[in-house]
């Protein structure tokens, strides 16, 4: 009886532990997102960056933040169980890049030549 009790409690404890870890993880994600967002806005609003750098900076910050979101909120990681999801995501990104960059390349060329 007692042993069972203990077991239950231990399991609960480990669950608490786990919950705390997970919360911490979410918080880190939130803070990172806020920082990255603020950085994006700052890069435009403060005028500290040279004009030519702003766009690349924005792209890098946005991509970083997307990775943070994928990792923290969507739980994508490199572990085995997630491999299928990760592969699907990467495959989608591959196709989407072909289509999106292809479009930009083609349309830029066309508008330059017309």
């Amino acid at each position: 009886m007692k042993l069972d009790d203990l077991k239950t409690r231990l399991m609960l404890d480990s669950r608490n532990e786990e919950e705390r870890a997970e919360r911490r993880f979410y918080f880190i994600g939130l803070i990172l997102s806020v920082l990255l967002t603020v950085a994006s806005f700052a890069s435009v609003m403060t005028g500290l960056l040279p004009r030519a750098w702003i766009f690349p900076t924005l792209v890098i910050l946005a991509l970083t933040q997307i990775v943070v979101h994928l990792r923290v909120f969507l739980h994508i990681d490199l572990s085995r169980q997630k491999r299928e999801d990760l592969q699907l995501l990467l495959f989608t990104i591959l196709l989407l890049s072909i289509m999106a960059f292809g479009t930009l390349w083609i349309m830029a060329s066309l508008s330059a030549r017309m």
Partner: protein, 340 residues
């Protein structure tokens, strides 16, 4: 397997039949086309077709020969042939299967890349190109501005101060540099004997550079469906001697002018004959015009680039087009500050 014998016979009969019917294009047309080019660009395109066919045949012919042979040889009723039901892999065969098509595609790719760069329709025909492709240039370039209307082509010669509908005339030996647009929906300008086709779109300018090496006629047609008169949007494109060309320019200069009102009428949907009627001209055949405003082409392009809406009444291809209401912008300014 009686059934299968019948099948064989029928297939054989079909092959003979198909071969008999499908004799190569030996048409009795008089005009130049893809198969009978007028100039070096189209000539190169035909050469491409020939060589592409030849190298691709290396991979294709084995199918034509192999399939009937295999089907016959390994038919079920022939129990003298080998039978290898479990055979399913062979490294050497794999190498051939992947390797041969891959090699062909590499060759094909190199080939097409060279061609695409060499005869890029935007590339002006100059001495360098003439040398590389082994043809001769004989005289200064001619500029032709092509405007696609519903259902006719308007050819503007800004430097000569003339315009023509229903006929394109170019001098032999001189590079022709075309700028193309439309004043209606999207079209595609094709002159097979000269260089194939390029799209023409409202508010935009595409280019095509050609040269005719010999006298002759080809068809300048639209290949992009644009409504009920589509089939009639075909005009002869004549390559003539320099002297004939000058003579043609002179007669055109004497023709009535293509001023804004005339253009507004001309742009209405209808074929060449309808335009002739609308403009109150008599006779038949192509229409020639003197060109008061050498900027006309730019202003047509600029119609769609002013930043103001162009309602259907002001768009020549539209059903509600009203020649009285539609005015071209005064300058071709819009053409350069592109918003495309």
């Amino acid at each position: 397997m009686r059934q299968s014998e019948h099948t064989w016979f029928a297939l054989f009969a079909f092959t003979v039949l198909a071969a008999a019917i499908y004799t190569p294009a030996s048409a009795a047309t008089h005009s130049a086309d893809f198969m009978r080019p007028l100039g070096p660009i189209a000539d190169m395109q035909r050469t491409e077709l020939f060589w592409a066919t030849v190298i691709v045949m290396v991979a294709i012919l084995p199918v034509f020969v192999g399939v009937p042979w295999i089907l016959w040889r390994y038919r079920r009723s022939n129990d003298k042939s080998e039978y290898a039901p479990a055979w399913h892999f062979d490294t050497k065969l794999e190498l051939v299967m992947w390797g041969v098509p891959a090699a062909i595609v590499v060759a094909f790719g190199i080939w097409l890349t060279q061609a695409v760069f060499r005869i890029d329709p935007y590339r002006t025909i100059d001495a360098e190109m003439a040398e590389g492709m082994n043809f001769e240039i004989d005289g200064p370039p001619v500029v032709v501005d092509v405007v696609g209307l519903d259902w006719k082509w308007l050819f503007i010669y800004p430097d000569e101060g003339v315009a023509s509908v229903g006929e394109m005339v170019i001098p032999v030996g001189r590079p022709v540099s075309m700028r193309l647009t439309t004043d209606t929906v999207m079209q595609s300008f094709m002159a097979q004997g000269l260089a194939g086709q390029i799209y023409a779109m409202p508010g935009m300018v595409t280019r095509l550079n050609v040269l005719a090496e010999r006298e002759g006629t080809t068809v300048a047609e639209n290949t992009q469906y644009n409504g009920t008169g589509f089939a009639s949007q075909r005009a002869p494109a004549r390559a003539v001697t320099d002297a004939e060309f000058s003579a043609w320019i002179d007669t055109a200069r004497a023709a009535p002018p293509l001023d804004d009102e005339t253009y507004a009428q001309l742009a209405k949907s209808g074929d060449v004959a309808a335009a002739r009627r609308d403009l109150g001209r008599t006779g038949s055949g192509p229409l020639a015009f003197a060109l008061p405003d050498p900027m006309l082409f730019g202003r047509i392009v600029g119609r769609y680039r002013t930043g103001a809406p162009v309602p259907p009444e002001q768009q020549p291809g539209s059903h509600s087009y009203d020649p009285e209401a539609a005015r071209l912008p005064a300058t071709d300014k819009g053409m350069s500050d592109g918003n495309d």
